[in-house]
Amino acid sequence: MLLDPGMDLTLRPMRYPHFFDRYRDAIKNTWTVEEVDLHSDLADLSKLSPAEQHLVSRLVAFFATGDTIVANNLVLNLYQHVNSPEGRLYLSRQLFEEAVHVQFYLNLLDTYVPDEQERFEAFAAVENIPSIARKAEFCFKWIDSIFELRELRSREDRRAFLLNLICFAACIEGLFFYGAFAYVYYLRSRGLLHGLASGTNWVFRDESMHMAFAFDVVDTVRQEEPDLFDAEMEKQVKDMLAEAVECEAQFAADLLEQGVSGMSLADMRSYLEHVADRRLAVLSIEPMYGSKNPFAFMELQDVQELSNFFERRVSAYQVGVTGTVTFDDDF
């Protein structure tokens, strides 16, 4: 079984080909930091109102450390216990993607924050900025919760592992990051910070795949060991998500404290609750909030993009095309 202790090395016969498919799809979407053009962002930054500047500086401070935390949990906890070589292939790929994200936000901060001292402070946000510190504490608590576990021997061990996995998928990648993306897309819908938006768009694409993989693991375990998923587990997941929503809501209160037109705190909370309900739905748990998404600009993220190439680089191309030259294929 997937969570059995050990280091399975056997790729054939492949037990979980869907993990391998995810690995291959991820490779097709390789992007590099050099492709993101930040040059127009600097002009935009000077146009922002003080309230929007505050929002952006907090946001990038969160991004500065967010992906590193996710990468740490991947190495310290997930890789160890997902006992399938094809699953580990995907996690290796995910680790690379997290590294690209870290590099992207590093490059972004170096560009956005020319003053060295301010830059150091941004990277130390986890310690200095209370609203970010609280989110970090939430993450560390869940990293630590299974850090001592070398092997998933008991039913309790497995449930602890699942909670960690669900936490990172549903709460951290699935809520904290989705919260952050909303701010970026809000700015983008106003035509601001294209560099940040196009890089974040690619990050978002990767993150939603990471989340899908994690839920795929959860579903696989559910099929193999259905009895792990009981009412107590459900309650724990709900409590965890509720705590995450509160963490993110206090972050939103900080970001929006000076008033940002088109993004009220009340709307942001509804959005977070809506996202939390969606995470529960994927886990087949009844919604807690019943909130609707109030942000029409998030709906824009769900439809095909069509860029005017004169203006922006199109992010829709494929890497990893296969086949050989022939002249009679259908097209």
Binding site: K28, E35, S189, L192, A212, E305, L306, Q318, F327
Partner: protein, 774 residues
């Protein structure tokens, strides 16, 4: 709920009153019977914060209306009207109350040219009276937003707009007119959105820098350092004034070739293109868009393989050019060898400097003779496969065909005149040389505005063509040429590029599926009408002003018109015969008349589909420098409403399927067939339509091809077919990302309710990411 307050422009603060917002919105509702002002008002307030300014409130109400477009397309017009009112307020706030005042004010700020300012001052009353008060009601939101953000002139310091959208169009008309009547006629045509000149003309007409041409085709630098650096300088100057640039690099020796002056070996073309890349990125076109260029290379160049890697996103960054577009300039001999699975020689241009100037049999002969000096031999098919991979992975590396481009051109009538490349968008084909940079100014007819359910209004179409050609021709004389090479070419050849947009609108209106016989006939017939009328107009201009100076070097001077080169029999025989005798008697004013440009921006302004393209999706977003905009197929919405099918669940299904209606079972088959997207149409049909209209396009067309999940096999079959069909050029290969962001706002479908059919449709549409399948 707490009381919310706003700060007024005079500094006072007042309580936000929902009724007041409702009334402000109601003023603009007019004929929009499906919009709900209360909904806009309440949503606006929910996004507001305490202490916001009234300007923020106004902007938010515009944004809020725009966000409802996905449910009801009429909100697009409402948002546009709210925006027009906002712009109007900004202009009037500076004491500008009429068109002539706006010109005078902008002239004082150094924005308007002296000639236009004087023309307007002389004719102030007539021109002021001509402004159509209801003109802005025709705009959709995305179009007007684009206009307001990027086309309207702004005060140099305050950055406030100094003209309204209608003043802007009248200003563009005045910049190109000699009499007020002429200006008013041209203004009315543009204001009706039935025709628009290309962006450089819309940006710059009437201003102090009247660079109004869209395209520049720069010949390859000579194989020496001074010439290369001269080209960088020229490209920068051309780019600064909104031009898009095509430049060949075929004459520059490849990696490893000897440099006699220093007895060293060349590093090839890549380091030079890297410099070009940086130069293009550095030039900001007046803050309105980034510079852009496309580099052309012939496939016998020794560095062709490295060239094809320039846009890869992996590998050494010093050998990557992220801003340059790439195109292959392909002789038929290459394609023949691909087909025959033969060898292909890579030859250094310093060993065969004559090759770039030859085409057809002369090229084939010279190439075969030069093969004994080949630097390297490869299998033609391997190189072709490499080209296909680049296309599939980056969309770039466009396939353009040298022999067809030259053989089927009016400008190659005299020996020594060769087309060396196409332009940034692969629709312009003009001769150039070391000291002549080809120039083209463009404009496009909105076919949708000439069609009703009863068919095409042919007389209206002809009238539009006549006006368009006169004003395109006019640009040549008024234009400011940023380089001496451009100034040397354009007055001699006087080429223009009259294009077409909204073909898909016409097909929807007439209910013709894109791949139907009827669609092909209509598109060909329309193109013949446009080309014939354009030639007639140019013949008329020649009768008045004389032929263009290089006329004797054209094929038309020998009695060969473009359809003759293709060997086709046009449908309107009498008119063609009459035209022939006129041309024989007095010649033509323009060497080239028709080119179908991509029209990305002006189609948005006109609110129609781009050029000759099928729709990309029934529901999609546009991303531009102005932000993101939801676009919905209003023809589909109308159709579904009439059938009572425009419901929330169906909207959800369309969104889930990324704008496809193929999986929506409630929609009848014929409607589904009509509303297929570019991804769902056989690409063969797009190529067939393009080939059928090509005899009536004396330059070329920006033809995008679409493939969701390209494979080398499919792509190589498709481009061979395009070459055999006789196309001169092709443009992007559009594909879709291999994975996509999980949709955040469509409901999560419970796994149990998905039928097998739905799951299949879904996974075909967006592999790996559709939540319904998990």
């Amino acid at each position: 709920m707490t009381v919310m307050r706003v700060r007024k422009r005079n500094g006072d603060s007042e309580t936000v009153d929902v009724n007041k917002i409702v009334r402000a919105v109601e003023r603009w509702v007019g004929d929009l019977d499906e919009v709900d002002p209360l909904r806009v008002a309440t949503k606006t307030i929910s996004g507001l914060y305490d202490g916001a300014t009234t300007a923020e409130l106004d902007k938010l109400s515009i944004q809020t209306a725009a966000e409802l477009i996905g449910e009801e397309p009429q909100y697009s017009k409402l948002a546009a009207r709210l925006l027009a009112a906002f712009v109007d307020k900004e202009v009037r706030g500076q004491g500008v109350a009429s068109f002539s005042q706006s010109i005078r004010y902008a002239h004082q700020q150094g924005l308007i040219g002296d000639g236009t300012a004087a023309f307007v001052a002389r004719n102030a009353r007539k021109l002021d009276d001509a402004v159509d008060a209801d003109g802005d009601l025709r705009f959709e939101y995305f179009g007007l937003r684009t206009v307001a953000d990027r086309y309207l002139l702004r005060h140099p310091e305050s950055r406030l707009v100094v003209e309204t959208p209608q003043y802007w169009l009248l200003r563009v008309a005045c910049g190109l007119s000699e009499t007020p009547a002429e200006a008013i006629g041209f203004y009315r045509l543009m204001s009706s959105l039935a025709y628009l000149p290309s962006s450089p003309t819309l940006f710059n007409s009437g201003t102090r820098h009247t660079q109004m041409s869209s395209c520049f085709l720069v010949d390859s630098p000579r194989d020496e350092l001074d010439s290369i650096y001269e080209r960088y300088h020229q490209v920068a100057k051309l780019s600064k004034f909104s031009g898009g640039i095509g430049i060949s690099w075929t004459r520059i020796r490849g990696r490893g070739a000897l440099i006699r002056g220093t007895n060293g070996k060349s590093n090839g073309i890549v380091p030079f293109l890297k410099t070009l890349d940086a130069g293009v990125a550095a030039v900001n076109q007046g803050g309105r868009r980034k510079g852009a260029a496309c580099v052309y290379l012939e496939p016998w160049h020794p560095d062709i393989e490295e060239f094809l890697e320039l846009r890869d996103n992996t590998g050494e960054d010093s050998r990557r050019t992220h801003n340059l577009n790439l195109a292959n300039w392909i002789p038929d001999e290459f394609m023949r060898r691909v087909e025959a699975d033969a060898e292909w020689s890579l030859i250094d241009p310093s060993d065969a400097p004559e090759l770039p100037d030859l085409y057809g049999d002369a090229f084939d002969e010279a190439y075969k003779a030069a093969e004994k000096k080949a630097v390297k031999t490869v299998k033609a098919r391997d190189l072709y496969g490499r080209m296909m991979r680049t296309l599939a992975q980056t969309g770039n590396g466009w396939m353009t065909f040298k022999d067809a481009s030259n053989r089927l051109s009016n400008q190659t009538g005299a020996p020594g005149n060769t087309i060396h490349l196409s332009n940034l968008c692969t629709e312009i084909l003009e001769v150039n040389s070391d000291d002549e940079t080809a120039v083209c100014n463009l404009g496009s007819i909105n076919l949708g505005a000439h069609v009703t359910a009863d068919g095409v209004d042919w007389e209206k179409l002809r009238e539009t063509v006549r006006t368009a050609v006169v004003f395109l021709d006019r640009v040549i004389d008024i234009n400011f040429y940023p380089s001496t090479q451009a100034a040397a070419s354009n007055p001699r050849w006087r080429p223009v590029g009259l294009g077409l947009m909204g073909l898909q609108d016409a097909f929807f209106t007439l209910r013709l599926p894109f791949d139907s016989e009827g669609a092909r006939e209509l598109s060909t017939r329309v193109q013949e009408e446009i080309f014939l009328t354009a030639l007639e107009t140019s013949a008329g201009l020649a009768e008045t002003f004389g032929t263009h100076p290089a006329y004797q070097e054209t094929r038309a001077a020998k009695g060969e018109l473009h359809p003759d080169l293709w060997g086709v029999e046009p449908s309107q025989t009498d008119r063609w015969a009459a035209l022939r005798s006129r041309v024989a008697a007095t010649g033509l004013r323009n060497s080239l008349l028709v080119a179908i440009a991509p029209t990305a921006t002006i189609a948005s302004i006109a609110g129609c589909y781009e050029c000759i393209e099928p729709q990309v999706s029934n529901l999609f977003k546009r991303e531009t420098m102005s932000g993101e905009f939801l676009q919905i197929n209003t023809y589909l919405v109308r159709e579904l409403k009439a059938r009572g099918l425009w419901t929330a669940p169906i909207r959800e299904q369309i969104k889930r399927a990324e704008g496809s209606v193929q999986g929506v079972a409630d929609v009848p088959a014929d409607v589904r067939e009509l509303f297929r997207t570019a991804w769902e149409l056989p690409q063969r049909a797009l190529i067939d339509l393009a080939a059928a209209r090509a005899p009536y396009i004396d330059q070329s067309q920006s033809l995008n091809l679409f493939m969701s999940a390209p494979t080398i096999g499919k792509v190589s079959s498709m481009y061979l077919y395009a070459w055999k069909a006789g196309l001169k050029t092709t443009y992007y290969l559009r594909s879709r990302p291999a994975t996509r962001i999980q949709q955040a706002t469509v409901a999560i479908a419970p796994v149990a309710t998905v039928t097998d059919d739905e799951a299949l449709a879904c996974s075909l549409e967006n592999p790996e990411s559709c939540e319904a399948c998990q």
